[in-house]
């Protein structure tokens, strides 16, 4: 009887300490269990409509700082992930990783070609929001904000969002990976008027 109690007490203690500790170290196993490192598929052309479809598959999914892997089940698999750790293995892209994949860009900055990355391919790409804003990389150019259209982007030094539609009041509907508490979705924003944001365009659209 005494031995049973000792065993039970030790078992329970170790169980909670281990599971809690493991959970703290790996907030989620989303990337480990779902994502891959498959190569991209080159495509001969890209359209703005096609990239909109890529973006819509990410809608309602999560946000992961420095991330770039998501599924399409309309839920964030790693809500409230720690915001200061890029290695928590959570679902979603960050703003620039999301843009890189939606714009179907290459890891090689001098390559303006078109590459289809799978949703579950864990890839962020070489660009930060700030570098997108500057038009860095062969596929990207800066554009006057008045000339922006769907699937162009508005970028600041710390964030980038893609134009999805225009509203009658002059605001834009932006599709973006906004932050851990927000995930990825379409929201009405006033980035176009905000002087901390500049216009950016992926070049080479077929239509």
């Amino acid at each position: 009887m005494v031995r049973s109690r000792i065993f039970l007490a030790c078992f329970v203690t170790a169980f909670f300490l281990t599971s809690a500790g493991t959970a703290a170290a790996y907030h989620t196993r989303f990337v480990a269990d779902n994502c891959n490192y498959a190569g991209p598929t080159p495509t001969p052309y890209i359209t703005r409509d096609g990239s909109t479809t890529v973006a819509l598959r990410a809608r309602y999914e999560g946000y992961q700082w420095a991330g770039g892997c998501w599924n399409d089940n309309d839920r964030d698999e790693s809500p409230n992930d720690p915001t200061s750790d890029s290695a928590t293995g959570g679902e979603g892209g960050d703003c620039s990783g999301f843009t890189f994949k939606v714009w179907r860009e290459s890891l090689t900055e001098s390559d303006a070609g078109f590459l289809q990355w799978g949703m579950l391919r864990n890839i962020h790409g070489p660009y930060t929001a700030s570098r997108f804003k500057a038009g860095a990389g062969a596929p990207n150019v800066t554009v006057s904000k008045s000339a922006l259209t769907n699937m162009d982007a508005l970028a600041s030094d710390s964030h980038i969002g893609i134009i999805y539609a225009k509203n009658a009041d002059g605001t834009d509907q932006i599709i973006e990976a906004k932050g851990e508490a927000y995930g990825t979705n379409i929201w009405t924003r006033t980035y176009r008027g905000d002087s901390s944001y500049g216009g950016v365009r992926r070049t080479g659209w077929s239509s």
């Binding site: 096609g50 890529v54 089940n73 904000k145 932050g179």
Partner: protein
């Protein structure tokens, strides 16, 4: 030391127990994590989505096309181009009564844009026209109606009529008007008398996301990062804190005449639309309302309660009636293209390029309208409100490097007063949460790297 520890075999039993517990704990975490991930791998079903910029106000003789950007996912394939084919129709009629006539939506040559040309007899109707679209995947597996209320709540396009024309010319940046008074001010931080900034890696500064002013001049600031509002009574430098059970993310807010605080959340819950939360003036939680559509941008007080501008329909929908919440289905069926005003009638706004069309409308159509053009690019219309016999419009002007707000007081002859306002937008707020018009004063929510503030600008009265 406990006698039991020294019982025969006690140390061995404890060691085995610790090992077994550790293994079980680790296994439980892995299984749980995998279960979550596997649950997440399921793909959602086919869907169709459409966006449409309605021609809310049309000028005489203008050709009108109804254009819909459509997107469809109908398979597990991640192939982006040509995911599935779509067909559709617009159902349209002159005015607001009678049978709708079906117009086929035709491709404009791009993969996803469908267009219907409005016949001249309908486009030039003195009562305008109403319409909605139904767009279907050819497989029949998905469809969308826009606006969501269909025939019950179609889009309405009104003739602008004899609008007062105002040319703003080229805007001169860098000379904003000083406020008449700074009526509220607070530093950033996590103290009792500070406003919070949302926390997150690479997150732009987001804080004090909305405000409102009651008729007596009391300022209520939504400090969403701290899940509370801060209330400044007239002349008081220190705000009262009222905790609210809110999500803590970007939100708009509105005060009702009975002091109920409405907070329009922006983040979706899993499989659900965002909530409008309601609180009494002490922060007591009242029954929330789920909005009808995926996202929204503004909440304001209408004739029978609060109304919310929702997307993708782009319509104002009532979310409460006489103090009771209204469900999503009724919201959809009561959507309006113009914003219903507390005093009756509606405000209709359309910005197209460097032109803004704005009208006050009633049941018989447009009562008064203005057409404002600018050499400098125009961004969003932040505020459009009747002001006694006049009208106030606040719009952002921009170049690629600069932006400011311009407040215009309009009457039946033209422009009475023009004020330039510093954009003061260091921290992000709800998209259209920066201005309120109360009495003869325009209030602006602004921010700098040190904190947030509300400034009051007194307007000319004629």
């Amino acid at each position: 030391m406990d006698e039991r520890w020294n019982a025969p075999g006690g140390r061995l039993v404890a060691t085995v127990g610790l090992l077994a517990g550790a293994l079980a704990g680790a296994a439980a975490f892995v299984v749980a994590g995998s279960a979550v991930a596997q649950r997440g791998a399921d793909s959602t079903g086919p869907f169709v989505e459409a966006t449409h910029l309605p021609p809310l106000l049309t000028a005489e003789g203008e050709l009108v096309d109804l254009s819909y950007d459509t997107y469809c996912i109908d398979s597990e394939s991640e192939e982006a181009e040509g995911s599935c084919a779509l067909t559709g129709s617009v159902f349209i009629r002159s005015g607001t009564k009678g049978q709708f006539r079906e117009l086929p939506l035709l491709s404009d040559g791009t993969a996803s844009r469908l267009v219907a040309h409005v016949p001249e007899a309908i486009a030039s109707s003195r009562t305008g026209f109403t319409y909605y679209a139904e767009i279907n995947a050819e497989s029949g597996r998905a469809s969308v109606t826009l606006p969501a209320g269909g025939a019950m709540a179609p889009h309405q396009s009104l003739p602008l009529g004899r609008a007062i024309e105002i040319d703003l010319g080229r805007h001169r940046f860098g000379d904003p008007s000083p406020a008449d008074e700074r009526v509220a001010e607070i530093g950033w931080g996590d103290g009792q008398s500070e406003a919070g900034l949302e926390q997150g890696r690479n997150l732009t500064p987001i804080g004090a996301s909305a405000f409102d002013v009651d008729p007596s001049g009391v300022i209520v600031l939504l400090d969403q990062a701290h899940r509370r509002v801060l209330r400044w009574r007239n002349g008081s430098g220190t705000p009262t804190r009222i905790p609210l059970a809110i999500a803590g993310t970007l939100a708009d807010m509105s005060l009702a005449p009975d002091d109920t605080i409405y907070v329009l959340e922006s983040v979706n819950r899993v499989g659900r639309t965002p909530l409008v939360r309601r609180f009494d003036s002490y922060g007591g939680e009242l029954e929330p309302t789920e909005i009808a559509e995926r996202t929204s941008s503004q909440i304001r007080q209408g004739p029978s309660g609060p109304v919310v501008l929702q997307q993708p329909s782009g319509q104002w929908m009532p979310i409460a009636y006489a103090g009771s919440p209204v469900g999503p289905e009724i919201q959809r069926r009561r959507g309006r293209s113009g914003r219903p005003l507390r005093g009756g009638g509606e405000v209709v706004v359309l910005r197209r390029g460097n032109e803004i069309r704005v009208a006050l409308a009633g049941p018989a159509g447009v009562r008064r309208s203005w057409r404002i053009t600018s050499e400098t690019a125009l961004a969003e219309v932040q505020l459009a409100e009747p002001f006694g016999q006049n009208f106030v419009l606040v719009v952002r002007v921009l170049t690629d490097d600069e932006d400011e707000f311009v407040a215009l007081v309009l009457d039946d002859e033209g422009l009475i007063q023009r004020i330039t306002l510093d954009s003061a937008d260091w921290a992000e707020t709800a998209p259209l949460g920066r201005f309120r018009l109360v009495g003869h004063s325009l209030y602006q929510l602004g921010s700098t790297p040190t904190g947030a503030f509300v400034d009051r600008f007194d307007l000319e009265v004629r």
